[in-house]
């Protein structure tokens, strides 16, 4: 399968502090991967670096997307090429209505349809994320991604602080964004999801999982198997693997 996103030996620092060390990762077309790891291990840094946030300094390695080196590409150009992200803690934007932001994501999108789908009609004319609850913020991220229709979507803890009903709704949206609702052979969209407790994985499909410890991907394999192991023994055994690297 074509490697839609390929990360080679990526090292990243923030404010002079090295956070990612020689990360290697490949996500093929049509695949969705899960990324596990303890707090502060660098998962969010990896996603934000792929998105192109300027304060994440790439010290080495490269990021290829659809065969093209995008390591130095500005953020918005990456978005235009098909990279989308649902942030863990998105900011509120004063004076920008959610409906208008959907139109900015994609002028052709039917904002009302998408807002209805994500149960956000009452928020259409409210400032983006301003005064939204945890679940509403996550649904607002989803509605934007549904409009944007990225080829590669990054989901940073879309289930944190969200009740069961919202998790179901968000899982459904992710399934649609990552095309898990169509035949595997027809899927072209890919994604990567960070989750701590894996609740969301009951409502969406993942093809592969990775474990990141101290800024390095140390293990990859079957998502369910890895999650079960983490639930059973925490990250202790993963840390043991790290020592062997």
């Amino acid at each position: 399968m074509i490697g839609l996103l390929e990360i080679e030996d990526l090292s990243v620092s923030i404010g002079g502090k090295r956070v990612l060390k020689n990360v290697n990762l490949k996500v093929s077309e049509g695949e969705t991967h899960a990324l596990f790891g303890p707090n502060g291990c660098g998962k969010t840094t990896l996603l934000n670096t792929i998105a192109g946030i300027p304060r994440y300094q790439v010290d080495g390695g490269r990021i290829r997307f659809k065969g093209e080196d995008i390591t130095d590409l500005p953020m918005y150009e990456r978005a235009k090429k098909g990279i989308g992200i649902a942030f863990q803690h998105p900011p509120a934007i004063r004076g920008l209505k959610l409906r208008d932001l959907i139109k900015l994501c994609n002028p052709q999108a039917d904002a009302d349809d998408l807002l209805t789908e994500m149960d956000l009609m009452d928020f259409a004319d409210r400032d983006v994320n301003r005064g939204f609850s945890g679940g509403e913020v996550k649904r607002s991220e989803m509605v934007q991604l549904l409009a944007q229709q990225p080829d590669f979507v990054m989901l940073d803890e879309p289930d944190s602080g969200v009740d069961l009903e919202n998790i179901k709704l968000i899982g459904k949206a992710i399934t649609r964004i990552t095309q898990k609702d169509i035949k595997p052979s027809k899927r072209t969209k890919s994604g990567i999801i960070i989750t701590h407790f894996g609740h969301i994985l009951d409502y969406m499909k993942t093809d592969k999982a990775h474990v990141m410890i101290e800024g390095t991907v140390i293990c990859s394999g079957d998502p369910r198997e890895i999650l079960d192991e983490i639930k059973k023994s925490g990250y202790e055994r993963c840390a043991a693997c790290l020592c062997q690297i």
Partner: protein, 405 residues
């Protein structure tokens, strides 16, 4: 007070510098304006005046409760279409109504400074609006102050009276055509909002780069009365200083000030003051300022004189250039116990996090900046009819704001 007393006080204050703002040399401006002929039918209004009015939110084609157009010192058109609402030029009103003397220079002291004194020393021009008891404007009254003569000192004195239980919406646009580079605008406005009356007053300024502006405004609000005062200035001006004061003088009176400022050069010194003089009165003042090079002084002052009043001030500024300056001065003056007064002030740059958020959705840095700035300036204003809200929204969302942002 006899008129001769006013003249006397004005004469004595001729050289009295204002408490705030840079000093304007009145002598450097033309004192006499060339007269203009009156226009009966608005359709015959010169195209440049019509266009200029539109730029300050005063569309003269759409329905309104009345219209006033002043070119230089001449009221060239005034009409009123609503029962219970009087809309006249002030000179006519003074001639018709002897009682108007009781409102003339009663809030703004004639000797406040050299500008008020100067306005008093010349024949009056401006508008007179009175909503009779219980009368309500369905459509806003529109007025346009047009400074078309280069280097002129334009003087205006307006009186607005909202009688008991009335509701009045007024929009005033003040503007100069592009060929007028230099000019001075002095505007005195006195508002009387009586028991249970509501007034929304929206002023949009669009002056030339070398125009100096000194409005002097006072508003008296009685029991249960309310004011929504909105000020928008998004184009360059040489110097502008204004500090309207509202006095909440009856139980339950409410005042709300909103100002939206965008400056790329010059000096803007704008504030508002609310005196909370009666129990259960409340006031809020929101100022949003963006500087891409100019200096903006944003003042706000609340004075709580009695217990059981509530006031909140918000002065927020964005500086988008190394040359810009925003000096935010929120002041709370509580003069007794049992008050609830607060403020928040913040001056800074656009949040990187917000920019990144929008760039992650495919917006370039410039587009993201434009969206954030326009959102910042789009103040949620209460107490305005929908049509005026839309006009204001349009003005603050102008595409030109992208430039320099």
């Amino acid at each position: 007070m006899p008129m001769s007393d006013l003249e006397d006080r004005a004469r004595k204050a001729r050289d009295k510098k204002a408490a705030l703002g840079t000093d304007v040399d009145l002598e450097s401006y033309e004192q006499e304006a060339s007269p203009h002929s009156e226009i009966e039918d608005l359709d015959l209004l010169p195209e440049d005046v019509r266009k200029a009015a539109l730029n300050v939110g005063v569309s003269l084609d759409t329905e309104s409760g009345g219209t006033y157009v002043q070119v230089d010192q001449t009221p060239i058109h005034v009409d009123s279409n609503m029962e219970g609402i009087e809309f006249l030029d002030i000179a006519t009103a003074l001639k018709n109504y002897d009682w108007l003397k009781d409102y003339w220079w009663k809030l703004v002291p004639v000797d406040q400074d050299k500008y008020t004194a100067d306005v008093a020393q010349y024949p009056p021009a401006g508008y007179f609006i009175r909503a009779k008891p219980g009368a309500k404007t369905v459509f806003p009254l529109k007025s346009c102050m047009y400074l078309g003569q280069s280097n002129l000192n334009q003087r205006v004195h307006n009186i607005v009276i909202a009688e008991e239980g009335s509701e009045l919406h007024v929009i005033t646009g003040c503007t100069t055509p592009s060929h007028v580079q230099r000019g001075l605008h002095l505007g005195v406005s006195e508002f009387y909002i009586k028991k249970g009356a509501h007034v929304s007053f929206t002023m949009i300024h669009n002056w030339g780069k070398e125009v100096e502006v000194r409005p002097r405004t006072k508003i008296h609000i009685e029991e249960g009365g309310s004011l929504s005062n909105n000020y928008v200035c998004l184009s360059p001006v040489k110097t502008l200083q204004t500090y309207p004061t509202a006095i909440l003088d009856g139980r339950g009176a409410v005042a709300s000030f909103n100002s939206v400022l965008y400056s790329n050069q010059g000096n803007i010194d704008i504030g508002s003051e609310v005196i909370l003089r009666a129990p259960q009165t409340s006031a809020d003042s929101v100022s949003r300022a963006v500087s891409v090079g100019g200096e903006i002084i944003a003042r706000g002052r609340m004075v709580g004189e009695v217990p059981d009043v509530k006031a909140h001030l918000e002065c927020v500024g964005l500086i988008l250039s190394d040359r810009g300056r925003i000096y935010s001065i929120p002041e709370l003056d509580g003069r007794c116990g049992g008050l609830d007064m607060s403020h928040e002030a913040a001056v800074g740059k656009i949040s990187e996090e917000e920019l990144e958020y929008l760039m992650a959705r495919g917006l370039s840095m410039d587009q993201a900046t434009g969206v954030i700035v326009r959102g910042f300036l789009d103040v949620e204003i209460k107490g305005l009819p929908e049509s005026l809200k839309q006009e204001l929204h349009k003005i603050t969302q102008l595409q030109e704001l992208h430039g320099g942002a």
